[in-house]
Each structure stands twice: as structure tokens, then as C-alpha cells.
Amino acid sequence: MTHTEKRILTNKIVMTLSTLSAMVGMTFLFWILGILVINGIDALNWTIFSEAGAPPGYEESGLKHALIGQLMIVGVATFAGVPLGILAGTYLSEYVQQSKLAETIRDISDIMMSAPSIVIGAFVYAIVVAPMGHFSGWAGSVALTIIMLPIILRTTDDMLQLVPSTLREAAFALGAPKYKVIMQVVYRGAKVGILTGVLLGVARVAGETAPLLFTSFNDNFLNTDMNQPMASLTVTMFNYATSPYEDWQKLGWAAAFILSMFILGLNIIARVFLMKKKGK
């Protein structure tokens, strides 16, 4: 075999292998997605939205408690995490730019984005749950806020830096004070980008289970008091799926389906925003 033939053969082998591995990988991923959709749609019905949890075997059991709990926990976390993250990102981009301090905050935020979320749960247990003496929806929100903060901070920072400095200079030339320049010019210019970051941040924390296990804990019944243990879709899913009862497992799949569709939806909207921004 000549050298050229050998190279062509190696090329064919490697290309076949990588096509195969791509197919194997995609098969597994679509298998999971398929299972999720089939089981999810199969388990969906109106009672899921109209009824709260019930003991196994009851016909009238649903996920209303978990849906409401999830909305409240994630809602409070968003309400706290978004403004904090945007303001912190503003400081980095508009006040300290490339200084050592700014770079350190950026690096630490990047690391925190990949840090194990269960550790955040343990931390919030120590600072909120233990002193209060019981699990609570608030504690869950605190954990999610801590996880969301670096995500919003970094996207805001990046998006504000994309705003052309000529816009800022034009506003300064008109005599506007810095805070007005930021609020009325810079934020407006980066609106779509910041919103994208917020959507991705919410999508990320909405799927978190580990940090909620020992902060908001769980509740099988409808509860709207953030001061008490509270159900979330993720923890409910975990408890129902690991239970031996078939009807609970079915509810678990319904929860998995609803949550995934919500998260995929947010990701797709964020993507469309980004595409529009690029298209401009």
C-alpha cells in the first residue's frame, strides 16, 4: 500500500468513526428526549394543574402545589438576583473596566457558574435553615439567587461592553451625569442582551434540584407561605420518581415534561433574541 493510499484509508476510518460516535451520542440524547416527551404527554391531564399532591392511589392528585411552589421560589430568586446581577455587572463594565478588581470578580463569577450547586444548598442550610430552625421557601430562593447572580453579572458585563462608547460620549457631551448616561443610554442600548442573560439565568436555576433539597425541602400539599417548607417541581420530581408508586412516578414524568418545556422555551426565546440582535 502506498503512503497516499494509507492516508486515504486512515481518513476513511477516522471519518466513519466520528460519524458513528456522533450517531451514538445523538441516539442517546434523542432517546432521553423521546422518553421524556412520550411519558410526559401520556401523564398530562387537567388534574395535574387543578389538584395538589395526594397520597398514592388517589385519583385526584396533581402538581398544583409543586407548580405554585416552583413559581414562587424561582420568582423570588429572579426578583432578587436580576437587579443585583445587573447592578454588579454595571459596576464592572462602566466603573472599573479592566482593573485588577474587575478581573478578579469576573474570574470568581465564572468559576462560581460551574461550582457544584449542592454546596450552595449546604451553605444556605447553615446560614438560613439552621438559624430559623426549619426549611423554608425563602431559603430555597436564597440558594437560587446565589446561583443566578454570577450568570446575570457576567452577561450584563459583556453586553454593556458591546454598547459603543461613542453613545456614552455623546450623552456626556450633553451634560448628563453618569448614572443617567448608564440608565438611559447604556441600558437601552444593551436591552436585548441583558434580557437574554436574564432568560438564560432563569432557565438555569429553574432546573436546579440539589440546592433545594435541604433549603426549601418539600411539601406534598399546597402551601403559599414562603416561611414554610415548599414543594418545587424538581424536588417533587425526585421524590415521586424514587417512590415505589406507579401513579406518583407518572406525576414525576409530567413534572419533568412541564419543566423541560419551560426551560427549552426560555432557551429558544433567548436564542431568537440573540439572532435578531446579530441580524441588526
Binding site: T10, I32, I35, L87, Y91, A115, V119, M237, L264
Partner: protein, 286 residues
């Protein structure tokens, strides 16, 4: 008036930005303080002893550490070649019509919460493992495989991004010299994107070692070191997820906090290595 508002705004943003650093420092110190009881009573035995028996107040974390290392190693061994294959397929092989839909769906799969991978593993994958290798199916092996599937989309997406940074002109020059696709990938793309690819693999490793929900379903939380991969095992996050709410004594809690601290330090170190040695951030606009 404007001057005052200006100062207030500047100081508020500064205060919150510094707050981020403070929170991270607080996490470390709080976990350390909560671990003190355990550190004082077990010392180094904590990481070298293999017996974890909370009722006897014996806390040896070696099985959990072993489980974290082995399951993550398994996941990496399985996911790295497939991720490279997917990345080569997406960046060099796939027809233009497939590139974007397959690429986007991989990125979207990376956004699916890990608890769903765990649930799929428990109901659909564990029975297959049970049929093939015997045992209960809940095992180190299942955990490693489910973990590898969970990190695959992230790894494939970032590897593809790293490969795509190779300038077309470099690739075209190599093709013009008569290189095959594999020659170009091996001698042009890989050397160019090496740092980015290795960095993203280490980053994926850092994420995998702290992953809780994908493995909690399928690992079993058994504190035993077994060379047999088909046996149930445990890892640091699995122990935390299973036992945190059951801990009843101060020292039990403290040991779990020490585990959390250990996990945080390990993943912080791994992620920092990925970040500082391999993935120097590209500044936007610069």
C-alpha cells in the same frame, strides 16, 4: 442633586459587585466553620478511613471520594471520544443542512436539567445494565455512563466551538497541499484549538465531579470501596443529597459539611485550572 444621585448609584453598584466576592468568601468560611467539629475529631482520618457509620460516629470519607473520582473518570473516558467525534462531525463533516439543526439541538440538550437525565437513567438505563451485567443495576457503572451522557452535549458544543475558531485560510492551505480531512484535523485544527479543547474537557470534569442529580438516582449511596463496577457505590454529592436531611447529631452534620467543603475545594481547583491555564477569556470588543 445629580451629583448625589451619581454617587449613590456608583456606590450601590460597587457595593453589590464586592458583595459577590464576599459571598464566595463567606461560603468558604461558613463551610469551614461548620466542619470544625469534624475536622477536630477525625483530622486526616476523615479522608483516609473507609468506614462510614454515622450510628457509631465513624466518618471515613474515602469511599465517597473514591466514588466521585471513579465515576467522573468513567464518565470522562466515555464522553471524551464521543464528544470529539460529534465535534468533528459538526465542524468538518456534516452537510450544511444538518450542521445547524444538529448543533442547536445539542446545545439545547445541554440546557435540560440533570435531574431528568437521572430519572431516565433510573427507569430506562439501569434495567438494561441489570440485564447485561447482572446485579441490581444501581451501580458505579450506571452512574458513570449516565454522567457521561449528561456532560456529552456540553462537551461536544464547546469542543465544536473551539474547533471552529481555526481560521478557514489555514485549513484551506492544508487542503490545497493535498491533505485529507483527517490530516487537516490532526495537523491543523487540533494544534490550533488544543488549548480550548483541553480547557473545556477539564471544565466538564469540574462540573461532572460536583454533579448530584444525574447520579443520585443510579448510584445507590453505599459506602464501600469495590473494584467491581457493577456494585452500588457512593460519591460526595450523592452522600450529601441522601444524608443531609437525615443527619441527627452535631458531628454527623459537621462531617457532611466537611464533605461539602472538600467538594467545593476540589471543583474550584479543577475549574480554576481549566480557566487560568487553558481558557484565557477572550475580551469582548477587544
Amino acid at each position: 442633586m445629580n451629583l448625589i444621585l451619581d454617587k449613590i448609584f456608583a456606590h450601590t453598584t460597587k457595593f453589590i459587585a464586592l458583595g459577590v466576592l464576599l459571598i464566595v468568601a463567606w461560603i468558604f468560611t461558613e463551610l469551614f466553620q461548620q466542619s470544625l467539629v469534624s475536622i477536630q475529631s477525625s483530622g486526616f482520618d476523615f479522608v483516609t478511613q473507609t468506614k462510614w457509620a454515622p450510628n457509631l460516629e465513624k466518618f471515613g470519607a474515602l469511599p465517597a471520594i473514591y466514588g466521585s473520582v471513579v465515576s467522573t473518570f468513567l464518565a470522562m473516558v466515555l464522553a471524551v471520544p464521543v464528544a470529539i467525534g460529534v465535534a468533528i462531525f459538526l465542524s468538518e463533516l456534516a452537510p450544511a443542512k444538518l450542521k445547524s439543526p444538529v448543533g442547536v439541538s445539542i446545545e439545547l440538550l445541554a440546557a435540560i436539567p440533570s435531574v431528568i437525565y437521572g430519572m431516565w437513567g433510573l427507569f430506562y438505563f439501569v434495567p438494561i445494565i441489570r440485564d447485561i451485567v447482572g446485579g441490581v443495576g444501581i451501580s458505579m457503572l450506571s452512574a458513570g455512563i449516565v454522567l457521561s451522557i449528561m456532560i456529552l452535549p456540553f462537551m461536544a458544543a464547546v469542543t465544536r466551538d473551539a474547533m471552529n475558531t481555526t481560521p478557514d485560510i489555514l485549513k484551506e492551505s492544508a487542503y490545497a497541499l493535498g491533505g485529507t480531512k483527517w490530516d487537516v484535523i490532526k495537523d491543523v485544527v487540533m494544534p490550533y484549538a488544543k488549548a480550548g479543547i483541553i480547557g473545556s474537557f477539564i471544565l466538564a470534569l469540574g462540573r461532572a465531579i460536583g454533579e448530584t442529580m444525574a447520579v443520585t438516582f443510579v448510584m445507590g449511596n453505599v459506602h464501600k470501596i469495590s473494584l467491581d463496577l457493577t456494585q452500588p457505590a457512593t460519591s460526595i454529592p450523592v452522600t450529601l443529597a441522601n444524608e443531609f436531611n437525615e443527619a441527627d447529631t452535631g458531628i454527623y452534620y459537621s462531617s457532611l459539611f466537611e464533605l461539602s467543603l472538600l467538594l467545593l475545594v476540589i471543583s474550584f481547583t479543577i475549574i480554576s485550572i481549566a480557566k487560568f491555564y487553558f481558557l484565557r477569556r477572550k475580551r469582548l470588543g477587544a
